[in-house]
Symmetry: C2
Subunit: 153 residues, 2 copies
């Protein structure tokens, strides 16, 4: 049982080379800003906002707008997953090749700590819902909120 298993949530860091070749395969250019952004995402197991990425970047590495554009592109080619914590700010997480990145989070409403939740429950439920209402291609968006151990009292 080694650590290179296929648990999509093991968060083994993807190699930068693997990431760039993935980009190349999509006929996208590997630019300085993009490499830097991927490098940051690679080291963060939790969803990051565009601003947070921007802040991590060496000063002047690239414009905030470029990050917005890069994230949209990375989402399009399926390299990152966009999450919505309901605060009006998009967050992104790098996902593994082949994975669709579907999972959930538990967010502390006080300190904003984020826990990645491995299990995805409502999958069985989706089928039930889909057929109950005649919908197809049903997916869901689910996030949990609460007080983390450190913030309780």
């Amino acid at each position: 049982m080694n650590s290179s298993g296929r648990n999509p949530h093991a968060h083994q860091r993807q190699e930068l080379g693997a990431l760039t070749s993935r980009l190349r395969r999509e006929a996208r250019k590997i630019t300085g800003p993009r490499a830097a952004i991927l490098e940051i995402l690679r080291h963060h197991p939790h969803p990051l906002t565009n601003k947070e990425i921007f802040a991590q970047l060496p000063a002047g590495e690239c414009d905030l707008v470029t990050i917005y554009r890069a994230m949209r592109m990375l989402e399009q080619v399926g390299m990152v997953k966009r999450f919505d914590f309901g605060d009006g700010v998009a967050r992104f997480e790098l996902i593994e090749e082949g994975d669709d990145g579907h999972h959930h989070h538990l967010i502390c409403t006080h300190c904003a700590e984020v826990v990645e939740i491995r299990e995805c429950f409502p999958v069985e439920i989706e089928a039930r819902i889909a057929q109950a209402y005649g919908f197809s291609a049903v997916t869901h968006r689910l996030e949990f909120f609460g007080l983390c151990p450190g913030c309780q009292k």
Copy 2:
């Protein structure tokens, strides 16, 4: 088995009088705009955006800003529940006295039709998550997306 049961999703329309007295109890003034807004919400079983409410209002009844302020206030006193369908626009639904309004929706990604989902599944799951990670006061936000019967092909 009459229709005035206590199923919180039966959507029996709340009386305007009951609504205003609820407001009065909270030491809020019953104004023209507020009565008009409540009147609209009363007749809509699905979440409405501020703009949608504005559009329903008799022309010149009140400013859009007033609606924003009213909805925030109504949310504070627990008379409406705010929903987030992930498109960057807040939606509101009137909730019954005593109810916390917690429920979910199934939204057609093509025509935006909204189905109210009565059952709330992850309640049992919340407990599991809460204790697994030591969080307290855990809640969740869950919405389903898919293609409604009419939009499939």
